[in-house]
């Protein structure tokens, strides 16, 4: 394997425009679906398919180039900088929802339950957390015409406890962080067998986590805690939902890294894809810790 001296500037990139078309198709289809169009779902999945084809194609191209020694160290640095700032943008995205939880819980809900707001609008509302609001919002009732606003049933709910599945999930994700690091050490020590074993463990722990989340969601919905259950349900499902999505993405990325490890890719000093996946996995891990503390425990 020879490494290029020059900074690699690729030419004629076709995947970006294909991926853009796929994403456009997916979102336009989704918007049509939300507006009640019958063809929306078709375009959504067509777009998703195109997008997935793009991901497979683009990443295959990248890993081939990487294995052929196309990228010098400076290119690798660019990739690392890119991944770092991508994760930074993801942190900013999660901050919105953590900030929403903080603001509603500590400011706007107490404001709703005090002073003239309480006195004139809804004297029975005490403004304590967890809450589904002065009107005790429950299940969302979608309107006949999707462009109109929906309504909600009135319902009581039980907030999520921390020490059942969520605690198990915490242990799962934390240990997956450890196995991921062991895999990294094995890679650096050129122990291919251990690398693959620990990666399998990491991916498995990730998917078990997702499974547990699915079970938890199922129980929540069975007991009447839904996305429509006022601000508690909104913040709970939005935060854990986006996190769960990120765990899925992280686990898929790790699966690809596992596949590439099995194919014999990566060397101790050239394994950006592994590093990027590991960084992403640790990011997802830390977000979960935040969720466990602020959503479940407090």
């Amino acid at each position: 394997m020879s490494t290029q001296d020059a900074y690699y500037v690729p030419h004629k990139a076709t995947w970006p425009v294909i991926g853009t078309a796929g994403l456009f198709c997916m979102l336009a289809g989704f918007a049509n679906f939300l507006n009640g169009s019958s063809t929306g779902v078709f375009w959504m999945f067509t777009g998703l398919l195109i997008f997935i084809i793009m991901l497979v194609g683009w990443f295959t191209l990248q890993s081939r180039e990487s294995e052929a020694g196309t990228f010098n160290g400076q290119v690798g640095t660019s990739y690392r900088i890119g991944m770092m700032w991508f994760i930074f943008s993801e942190i900013a995205f999660f901050c919105v929802f953590f900030g929403t939880l903080w603001y509603t819980r500590n400011l706007s809900v107490p404001w709703l339950g005090t002073g003239t707001t309480k006195e004139f609008l809804h004297p029975l509302f005490d403004g304590t957390w967890p809450t589904n609001g002065p009107e005790k919002w429950g299940q969302f009732v979608a309107p006949d015409d999707p462009t109109k606003l929906g309504t909600h049933t009135e319902a009581d709910f039980e907030p999520m406890g921390a020490w059942g599945l969520p605690f198990i999930n915490t242990l799962l994700l934390l240990s997956s962080g450890i196995t991921c690091t062991w895999a990294h050490h094995a890679l650096i020590k050129q122990n291919r067998e251990k690398l693959i074993q620990w990666l399998i463990a990491t991916v498995a722990l990730g998917f078990i986590f997702v499974l547990c989340q699915a079970v938890e969601y199922h129980e929540a919905y069975a007991e009447g805690l839904t996305l429509g259950t006022g601000i508690y349900g909104s913040t709970f499902f939005m935060l854990t939902g986006f996190h769960g999505f990120h765990v899925c993405v992280g686990a898929i990325i790790l699966s690809v890294v596992l596949f590439r490890s099995w194919k014999g890719h990566f060397t101790p000093d050239n394994h950006f894809a592994f590093e990027a996946a590991a960084w992403y996995w640790h990011f997802v891990d830390v977000v979960w810790l935040g969720l466990f503390i602020f959503v479940y425990l407090m």
Partner: protein, 560 residues
Amino acid sequence: MSAFSAKGYEVKDHNTPQHHHDDHHDDHHGDDHHGPAKGWLRWVVTTNHKDIGTLYLLFSLVMFFVGGAMAMIIRAELFQPGLQLVQPAFFNNMTTMHALVMIFGAVMPAFVGLANWLIPMMIGAPDMALPRMNNMSFWMLVAGITLLFSTLFMGDGLGAGWTMYPPLVLQTKEALPFGIFSVHLLGISSIMGAINIIATITNLRAPGMSLWQMPIFVWTWLITAFLLIAVMPVFAGAVTMLLTDKFFGTSFFSAAGGGDPVLYQHIFWFFGHPEVYILILPTFGIASTIIPVFSRKPLFGYLSMVGATIMIALLSFVVWAHHMFSVGMPISGELFFMWATIAIAIPTAVKVFNWIATMWEGAMTFETPMLFSVGFVVLFTIGGFTGMMMALAPLDFQYHDTYFIVAHFHYVLVPGSIFMIIAATYFWLPKWTGFMYNERIGKLHFWLSAISVNVLFFPQHFLGLAGMPRRIPDYAIQFSDWNMISSIGAFVFGVSQLLFLYVVIDCIRGGTGIKATNEVWDGARQYGGGIVEGLEWTLPSPPPYHTFTEAPEIKSTIPR
């Protein structure tokens, strides 16, 4: 061949064209290394920073006229009181779309286009750091704007203003999800562009160029890119909550379920205030590049310029609620956001003083880029002063949501951002095309624009102070005169921009027939790069398809 890498490079005379036909490339580089691909597909699959820069700039130019046409509709309706030309819903649609198109379609892409063209040439890099992603961020922009324009054909379209406050925005019909997904795509585009710019600046500078020697335009873009990555996801999160509130029954912004519509305003402006600095910081970089060249003096206070830019960027994260003084916040909040906002005047004033000090006793000439720059310094400062007026919370209750705020932000955006994008175009157009533009028409364009922009926006201060609300298609009879004057200014300003279009096309076609030299402007090489030699002025005009495949030598132009 000595390759471009941090480890080794050799000093070369970089006055020679940067084509290296003798480079021993292998098959990874493809067969088109020496020039662009053939046919129209070149523009679809290109990874070249100059091609992508051109795409961005042309796209921005088109959007400038589309958004401008919407502004003309607004001013035509407001020419007289009463409803003459359009229905109120269409008027709301136009105010919303005008803002979104100008911000996300015209100004931001223009800056990204300038970044693409200039940053690699200014820091001596072979291209952007992540060329394939560079292509994708442009096409994501096109996809996002396409979704946005699709809403024009859906009933009343988007009409709740570009800020999209709930609960009003949730009354939007079919257009709402399209508008929201358009914001997502535009956000992805901006984040990818910004990551690319940061990676390029931090990793691809020619050996010998430290951070503290970078041209000031590069500095301002580095900071702008940081702001973009920090706040575009925030906007994406906010509109995602709008989507779930409308379609999936969440209650983030509904008090009945325990949420709060004011929460949206907080999140939106936590994005929105850094966003307005995203629209102005590269402008500062352009002014700090052009003014020294036409003053034949080094930029006054390079370090304080960088420091002021960083200060402005950091402060932009703690001032958002000055957009919401009248919404009903605790008095301690009002006071905090008032003082934090006023503090921004300090670094901004540092910049204005530095520009004036740069001009002081300089051997100044007034070619078109300089005219626009001087016009920018004066008129942007007026916008800054009205900003100070509105930063004062007690006074803001008088101006809030009136034409005063419309006058304020148009003073900082039109003679601010737009003027400097135009100035940058005149300044670098000869470098890009290899031909000088038509200076006489350029100057005419400046004088018509500078006069009409004041006729257009200055009366709006009076209208606002007298109480005329913004975003309303009709108004009370006592506002008639100033509205008519403002509209006349708008029409003159709009028509004047056709001169710009003519000059740009004429220059691309080589209409003047005057070939541009490498340096283009007398003094550009010495003063156009801040405290080092302006590298893009060492290249031929137009520069070859690939530049600085070998790192150039960095020469200090002023002793430090």
